[in-house]
């Protein structure tokens, strides 16, 4: 029987007067790879931050490993986070530490392993993301794509049961994208890891996903407009979904304002 790892119900988040997430619900089972898609600024990263527990929702319920996290204390949340790894959009490496120390950080701070074992694990994880020999460099000395891969190595350092990736493949070359995708697939298939991936890259999304959700833009921002397996999404009747996965410039999501609105907008009194 499939064991639910993440259960999100009716998640609502408001920033001031703006409602960013308007009642989202979904479930992710063990071994699944959930891909979250949607236009820029539709709330994908915000959603991810809520699931990890960095941000607290205005309303609704989030369960990780069957445990409600929305009202959990910081200590209990920290314990739960040891079972998760997260890759940030920009890598979020500590600038004052070298690449190797960054990857070793969760090991040394949380599991008190001996330094030589930590070093061994660091080498293994860096090899996984194709960065052997870079461990003595500072994050400022490597490229954006490399930072992202180091971030992935760090997220995997504690062998998490649940991996969150915020755009893991943006800024990577096609070969490295394939390597990272293969890595995610291997970990979910062979080790039973669960992954939640936010991505814009449709090739990589359809390659790794076992389940997809898509968030709307414009008037439907902050809601799930499509949910299902990659095949179901590929044949989804919603024209907005079709426009997004095919990457067409014009469709239900308009490229520009209509000529009438454009004129109105242009001549609007700025006051």
């Amino acid at each position: 029987m499939a064991e639910p790892i993440i259960e999100v119900q009716n998640l609502v988040r408001k920033f001031g007067p703006r409602t960013v997430l308007k009642g989202l619900s979904f479930t992710v089972n063990r071994g699944d790879t959930l891909v979250i898609m949607g236009g820029s600024g539709c709330g994908k990263s915000t959603l991810l931050r809520h699931v990890v527990g960095v941000l607290r929702p205005t309303g609704g319920s989030i369960k990780l490993f069957g445990q409600e996290t929305t009202c959990l204390s910081d200590e209990a949340l920290a314990k739960l986070r040891l079972r998760c790894g997260m890759l940030f959009q920009s890598g979020a490496l500590l600038q004052s530490l070298t690449v190797g120390e960054n990857v070793a950080l969760p090991l040394i701070e949380n599991s008190h392993v001996a330094p030589d074992i930590a070093e061994l694990v660091v080498r293994m994880k860096l090899e996984l993301v194709g960065l052997t020999g870079f461990d003595h460099l500072k994050p400022a000395e490597i490229s954006g794509g490399m930072k992202k891969r180091v971030g992935l190595a760090r997220a995997l350092a504690l062998d998490p049961e649940l991996l969150f990736s915020d755009e893991p493949t943006s800024g990577l070359d096609p070969i490295m994208t394939a390597v990272v995708d293969k890595l995610t697939q291997d970990l979910t298939k062979n080790l039973g890891m669960t992954a939640v991936v936010v991505t814009h890259d449709m090739v990589s999304a359809f390659r790794i996903a076992s389940k997809m959700i898509m968030l709307g833009v414009g008037p439907r921002a902050g809601t799930i407009i499509a949910e299902g397996t990659p095949d179901e999404i590929r044949n989804h009747p919603d024209p907005e979904v079709q426009q997004f996965i095919k990457g067409e410039p014009d469709g239900p999501v308009p490229l520009k304002l209509s000529s009438e609105n454009y004129l109105k907008h242009l001549l609007q009194d700025p006051g």
Binding site: R49, V52, V54, A78, K79, R81, L82, C84, M86, F88, Q89, S90, A92, L93, L94, Q95, L105, P106, E109, N110, R154
Partner: protein, 212 residues
């Protein structure tokens, strides 16, 4: 992290030296009108130990280290590094704030003692060169004028200052929001607020010591 203090030595030395020199010159000028230039060492040592030493060293450290701590933590907040620590179940306060806190609490009093010594050396220069007071005489007057409690009161002050500076710097840094501009604003706010805080705290503590 102890670099917070060690690299501040030259600047502390320079400010304290000029402070000692100016104090001695002013005192010599005014006191010579009463023919009381023998009291110059008393004035220098008391004002340095009780008030000016801790204060001027604290201001130097705010400018050098308080602002640096705020800018560093603020940049880490802006570039998601603090969030990353939280997600790795590493408490950012324990990992980032505590070492800086300890460094500041140890280094500021040490720098204050150092600054006091340099300031008095500055006073000695003036007394020796322009007042015909020899070294032995100067040291004797110092020892006679100064009480151990004067030293303690200055050190207690510098402990309180250290505590205030690092709390303000870390709190402002961790609360940054709004990109590079936010970091700049926070750094300014941190410097202004810590200087205000130590000035007010200084007045309060002087009042308490005075009554005591």
């Amino acid at each position: 992290m102890v670099v917070i203090g060690v690299q501040a030595w030259p600047m502390t030395a320079l400010t304290s030296l000029s402070l000692g020199l100016t104090l001695a010159m002013q005192a010599a000028h005014e006191l010579s009108q009463f023919g009381a230039t023998v009291l110059v060492p008393d004035l220098i040592s008391l004002s340095l130990l009780r008030e000016l030493g801790p204060l001027i060293v604290a201001v130097v450290v705010i400018g050098r280290s308080g602002s640096a701590v705020t800018a560093e933590l603020g940049t880490m907040r802006v570039s998601e590094e603090i969030e990353a620590l939280e997600v790795m179940a590493i408490n950012p306060v324990r990992f980032l704030v505590v070492p800086r806190f300890v460094a500041m609490l140890i280094m500021l009093p040490i720098l204050t003692i150092f600054g006091n010594c340099i300031g008095m050396a500055g006073g000695w220069l003036i007394c020796n060169l322009s007042l015909d007071m020899n070294t032995a005489n100067y040291v004797m007057r110092l020892l006679e004028a100064v009480d151990v409690f004067d030293l303690y009161s200055g050190l207690i002050k510098s402990f309180v200052f250290a505590w205030l500076i690092i709390i303000v710097a870390c709190q402002t840094g961790l609360a940054v929001d709004g990109g590079a501009e936010g970091v700049g604003r926070a750094t300014t706010a941190s410097v202004v607020n810590s200087i205000l805080a130590i000035l007010v705290a200084n007045a309060i503590m002087t009042a308490i010591f005075f009554i005591y």
